[in-house]
Symmetry: D2
Subunit: 387 residues, 4 copies
C-alpha cells in the first residue's frame, strides 16, 4: 500500500439515496481505507443530490446536481477528485465517462461500460489518446478464488481447455415487479435505460468471468434471449452456446426468473488435465479435480492457495470474505494503479489487475452479438463482427 | 405385490461376464424378489455364454449362444421365460427385441431402444399389434424423488414451466481409453455399435429425465456435438438449446470429458410458482423453492413426500437408497404389470409406470434430431421431423 | 464368490409382516444372490408367522411359530438351514442365539447382541467352544468408505490419533409416539424389551463405528443419559466423553429428538497427520484432509479408493450405493466365511470381515458402562469393569 | 444512523503492525463509516508504535507508546477519543480497560474480557458506577443469521429447548508451531498471556454463541481440557458436557488440532418444535427444520428473514457477507449506542445490542468453571461458584 501521500480523492456520479450499486462502490472504496469520497453528483434531482451528499458527509460545495458541472469544477480545484466512480443507469455511462475523461479525471465505471459498442469504441480511442485510467467494475473477477482459477489455467494445470459452463441465476424478476414500480426493476427492465435485460445485467458478468479465467477467444456463438414473464419488455432469460477458437465448447445461461437463486453466479472449466468449479455464493472455496485424482477443496488462504489469490486475502482461512471484499479487491487494484500514477510514486504491484475499457468494449460486443443472434432466430455469429 | 403364483420367469440377452449393465439389471430384478432369472444368451461367444450362465446358476439347457434359439426354445417350454431383458450393445436391441416379441415374450430393453428411429417405429408397430409389454429402462425416472418432482409439476405446484436445465456429466472418457482396449469404452465410442456417443449413452438419459418430469413437448432444438478428445471417433460432448411448445426454454448438456464428475445427472426445473433441483449423485433429496419462500430439502420418506415418491421407498428416511434401488423400482413397476397380465390376476397398481417403446421411439427421434442439427452446423430442428 | 455348491440356506427368527429390520436383513441377504431364505419363525403369533412365511414364499413345513422348534427341526433336516438371522427385539437375542448354536447352526444376530453383558459373555464362551460363526450386524462398518477410513487409519495416514467425534442423530422420537401405539417406538422405548433407549438403538452403532475405524481402546468414559420427551420411560439422548488409552479424546452423541435428522450417523477422526469425515446419509464420499493440504473428496470407486473399499463396490463411482448395499456387504462378508466352512471349500478372502460375538460383548459392555456412569451422576468409568 | 455530528472518534490499544485482530477491529469500525481512528497505543515498543500509527494515518501527537499516557492525554483533549478498542493479549485487557474507564472513555474490548473473574467483576463494578459503555467483541453473535436464530428461539418457534451442540474447530495448532516462533501461536499458547488455550481463544466464542442464541442458564458442566500436541503448555482441545437449568442438555467442543477445519464454528439447537443449524464458514444460511416438515434454508435477506436479521443485512441475498461484515455489525450496534450518548442525540435503535461487560464476566466464569472441572478430573461444577 502506498497511501503515504494521502488517500485517493474520489467522486461519484449516481448512487443517491435508495440506490444499491452506489452504496456498494462506496463500501468497496472504503474497506481498505485507500479512497476518500469528497465529491458527488449523486442524483440528477438537485434536492436528492444535496440530501444524499450531506448524508455521506460531503462538503456542500462539492455536491453537484449535474455531472458536467462536477467534472468542470473538480478539475479546476487543486484538491479536486483524482477519479470518479460512475454508477448511473447504463445508458448514461458513456456521456458521463466522456465528461470526466475530457476533464483529465480517471474513471471507474460500472458495467456494461456502455449500451452500444460504438460508444465503447469511442471511449477506447479517447483513453488510448489521453492515457487516463479507465476501470470497469466486473467485480467477480476480483474474488481471490477466481484469481486462483485464472492462475491455474494460465499455469497449464488444466491442460488444454475443452468445456466452459458459466451461469448467473437469480429469481428476483420471476414476477413482473417492474409494473409495481420497484425502482431497481424499473430501470433494469426498461430497454432504453439498461441496453439489455438479463444479458446486460448479469449475462455480461457471466461472460466476463469466463473470459477472465479462461482467456479463450469466442469464435462464434448462438443465442436465444427470452422474456418469460408475461408483460416484460426485455429479456429475462439468456441461453448461449459458445464455440471457442481453440476448439473448446461453452455454454452460458443467465436468468432472472429461476426461483431458488439469489445471485448464483458459477463457472465450471474443464481441460484435458483437470476441472474447476467456483460459485460466488460460496466464494471462498474452489473445487479442483486433477484428472484421475480426488476432488480438492481449495480454500482462500488455505493450503494450495496460489500467489494470485493469496495477495488478495485479508483474513485467515475459514473466516469468510464475501461480495464486498471482492468488490473492495477491485478498488484496491485500482488504487494501486492510481497511487503509481502520482508524481514520484513507486510503480504499482505488477500483479494488480482490473478490467479496463478495452475489456468493457469486448463485453458490449458480446452483448450485441448475443442480441443479434437471437433476433435472427438463433444463428451463429462472431462477436465484434457485423451481425 | 402379487407373486403368489410365483416370481416372473426372466431371461437375459447380453450381460455375460465382465459386463456392467447386465449385472445391474440382475440386481434390479432381484432386489424385490419378484423375478427369477432362468435362461440367458449372455454372450454370442458360446464358451463365454456357458461359463457366464453357469456362474449365475442357470440350468445348462437354458443357456444359449444365440438369442434366436433362445426365443424359439423358451417360447416352446411350458415353463419358458415370460420376459427377456436385453442388455446388448445398442445396435442389437432391435433384432433381439423383434425375435422375442415374435415369440410372444415380453421385452425389457436397455436404452436407447434402437439406433435408428425407423427400427424403433417398426417395434412400436409390432407392439401395438401384439399387445406385449415393452419396457425401456430409463432407470433414473424411477428414483423416488424424481417421481416426487413429476407429481409436483403435474399438480401445478411450479405453475407454468419456464426453464429446464438438465445435464449428465462424466469424466471417464477424458482420455482416449478406447485406444487401450477398455471394453466399455470400445463399444460405446464405436459409431457402428453405439449409434451415438455421449448423446446416445447419457444425453438420452438427460432428455428422458426432463421429458418425464416436465411432460413438455420440444418445439425445436439447436445442437452441437463435439469430439473433444483427440482421436475420438464419436461425440463426447453434447450441447442442446431447447424451445418447448409452451414457450419455455431449456438447455441440455452431456459430457464424458469433464474431470470431477462420475455420473452427475441433474435437472433443474423452474416455473412461475417455484423451482426444483434434483441430482442423481444425491438422489434422496429434492430441493424445492416455492417462489418467495425459503428453499426446502424434501427427502425420500421424509416430511412432504408425495404418494408418487412414497410408494417407491423401501426404507426409512435418512437411510440412503441409491442407483440399484432406483433401477429396482423400474423392475418392480414392470413386475406389477407382468403379474397383472397373468391369467386371473388382479389389475396392476394404476400408479405403476415405466417408459415404454413409444417413449423409446421419441428418445431415438431426439437423438437423431440432435445429430441432424449438429451435422447441419447447429440449426434449429424439430425432433421427429425430417432434418 | 463361491456359490458353486449352491446358495447358503438361511433361516430367520423375527421379521414378520410389518417389521422393518427383518425386511432389511432379507434385502441384504438377497442382493448378491448368495443366500436363500428357506425357513422362518417370523413371529411368535402362529397365524402371523404362517401368513408372513407364505408371503415370503417359504414352504409351509418350514414355517415355525416357535424358534426352539425351528432350531430342532432344521438341524435334523439334511437340507436344513446353515445359518439363522435373528431380528427379534433385543431381549430375545440371547435365548434365540443359544438355541441355534446348540443346534449347530451359525448365527447372524442384530445388535446389540444381548441386553446384558452376562448374556453376551455366555454366548462368547459357547462360540469359543463350538466354533460356529456368530456375526453381529453392525451394518455401517460395511460401508465401502468406512472400510476406506479404517484402512487409512491402519496405514498410519492420519498419524497418531488425537480426537474422535461420533454421533448418530434422529428425530423420529421427538414426540412421545410410543404412547400412540407406534410399533417400532413401542418396543424400542420399553426398557424391558430394548435394554436401552437411544444408547442401545443408535448409540451402540456410533460406538461400533468409532471402534471399527480407529481401533482405539477406551480408557474411561463419562456419560449422561436423558429422557428429554415428557413421559418417556427410557433415554432418548446420550452424551459421552471418552478418554482413549493412547491419550486421544472423544465424544459421542446420540439423539432421537433432534428435528431435521433422519439417520444422521457421522464420524470425524483427527490425527497428527490428517483428518477424516464420513456421514452415512452421503455414504459414498469420504472427506480427507492431509494436514497442510486441501481437503479431498474421496468417492467410492473413484480416484484414491483403497483396496479395502474397492473390494466392496458393486457399481461405478457416481452411481450411489446406499444403506441396503452396505448391509448387503456385511452379508457378503458373512457368506464368504460360510462358504469357506463348507467341506472342501477354498478359504475365504482374508480381507472379509464382520463384527463377531466378541465385538458384540464389547458393545454391550460399552452400553452398560454408559448406563452406570449416568446412573452415578456422570462419573468416569472403564467399560468392562464393575461400575 | 446518526452521524450528523461527525463520526465516533476512536482510539486503539494494541493492534500494531503484524497483528491480526487489531486490523479486524479497524475494518469493522470502518466498514459503515461511523468511526474515525484518531489515536493509538498500538504497541508497547515505542518505535513500532510510531511506525504502526503513521502507517494508519494517525497524527504523530496522538501516537502513544503507553496506554496510560494515551488515556490521560486523550481525556484532556476537547477532540479526544470517545471510545477505545482494546486488542492486546488477554492478560492486558483488565488494566487497559480500567485506565480508560477511569479517564471517562468508553471501552470496546476483545474477548475474553479478562483472564480472571475477579478482574472481570471489578470492571463490572466500575462500569455500574460510572455508566460508561463497555462492549465485548463476541463478533459471531452479530452475524445476521445468528440474530435470526436468536429471534426464532425467543419467539418460541423451537418450542422448549432440549439439546444444544456447539463447536469451534480449527487446525492451525495441529503442529507445535509456537516452538518456531509463530507470533500468534506464541502468545496464545502461553498460559501467562492468554489465560487459557483453546478454551479462552475459541471455546469462549462457542460458549457465547450458545448463550446468545438460546438464553439458557447452565446448571452445571463437566469438562476435559487436553494438550494433544506434544510439548504444548496449554489446552488445545476442549470437551464440555452441559446441563441447562431448564433440563436441556448440551455439548461444547473446541479444538485447534483438527485437520481440515479453518474457523469452523457451528451450532445446532433443538427444541420440541424444531431444530436449527448455523455455521460461520457459510454464515448467510440458516438451516431450520420445523418438526415434521422439510428442512428450510433461510438465507440472509431471503424469504423468511426476520427483522432481527434483516436490520443487519447490507446487500441483497445471494451476495455473501462474511466475517468482517459481522464484526462490522457489532461496531454498528456499538456506534448506535455511542451516538445516542452524545448530548442532544435521539435514542438508539432499541433493537441494537452487543455483549457487555456483564456478559464478559459470565464468559470468564464459564472458562474458569471449565478449567476447574478439568483440573479436578472431570467433575460437575456450576459456573460462577467456587470450584
Amino acid at each position: 500500500m502506498s497511501r503515504a501521500s494521502g488517500r485517493i480523492r474520489l467522486g461519484m456520479v449516481g448512487g443517491g439515496e435508495g440506490g444499491f450499486i452506489g452504496a456498494v462502490h462506496r463500501y468497496a472504496a472504503r474497506i481498505d481505507d485507500q479512497f476518500e469520497l469528497v465529491a458527488g453528483a449523486l442524483s440528477s434531482n438537485p434536492e436528492k443530490a444535496l440530501r444524499s451528499g450531506l448524508a455521506l458527509g460531503l462538503a456542500a460545495d462539492r455536491i453537484y446536481a449535474d455531472y458536467r458541472d462536477m467534472a468542470r469544477a473538480e478539475s479546476a480545484r487543486p484538491d479536486g477528485i483524482e477519479a470518479v466512480s460512475i454508477v448511473t443507469p447504463n445508458h448514461l455511462h458513456a456521456p458521463v465517462a466522456r465528461a470526466f475523461l475530457d476533464a483529465g479525471i480517471h474513471v471507474i465505471c460500472d458495467k456494461p461500460v456502455t449500451t452500444t459498442s460504438a460508444d465503447a469504441r469511442a471511449l477506447c480511442e479517447l483513453v488510448r489518446k489521453n492515457g487516463l485510467l479507465f476501470a470497469v467494475t466486473h467485480n467477480y473477477s476480483a474474488n481471490a478464488m477466481v484469481r486462483q482459477a485464472r492462475q491455474m489455467v494460465q499455469e497449464g494445470q488444466l491442460g488444454e481447455l475443452r468445456v466452459v459452463q458459466v451461469e448467473y441465476v437469480q429469481d428476483w424478476l420471476a414476477e413482473p415487479i417492474e409494473l409495481d414500480g420497484q425502482k431497481q426493476a424499473a430501470w433494469r427492465t426498461d430497454p432504453a435505460q439498461s441496453g439489455g435485460g438479463a444479458i446486460g445485467d448479469i449475462g455480461s458478468h457471466a461472460w466476463q468471468l469466463a473470459d477472465f479465467i479462461t482467456g479463450l477467444d469466442i469464435e462464434s456463438l448462438c443465442a436465444e434471449l427470452s422474456s418469460l414473464v408475461p408483460g416484460r419488455r426485455i429479456d429475462d432469460n439468456v441461453q448461449v452456446m459458445l464455440r471457442y477458437a481453440n476448439g473448446a465448447r461453452g455454454s452460458l445461461w443467465a436468468s432472472q426468473v429461476a426461483p431458488g437463486h439469489g445471485n448464483d453466479l458459477s463457472i465450471r472449466v474443464y481441460g484435458s488435465k483437470g476441472g474447476l468449479h467456483w460459485r460466488q455464493e460460496q466464494p471462498d472455496v474452489l473445487h479442483w479435480t486433477p484428472l484421475g485424482e480426488p476432488t480438492r477443496l481449495i480454500s482462500r488462504n488455505g493450503a494450495g492457495t496460489l500467489p494470485a489469490a493469496a495477495r488478495l486475502a485479508r483474513i485467515p482461512g475459514g473466516h469468510p470474505e464475501g461480495y464486498l471484499e471482492a468488490f473492495g479487491n477491485l478498488y484496491r487494484e485500482i488504487a494501486a494503479s492510481l497511487f503509481a500514477r502520482r508524481p514520484g510514486s513507486v510503480p504499482a504491484d505488477p500483479a494488480a489487475e482490473f478490467p479496463d475499457v478495452e475489456d468493457g468494449l469486448r463485453g458490449v460486443q458480446f452483448i450485441e452479438a448475443v442480441q443479434a443472434s437471437s433476433r435472427a432466430g438463433g444463428v451463429w455469429l462472431k462477436p465484434g463482427e457485423p451481425g
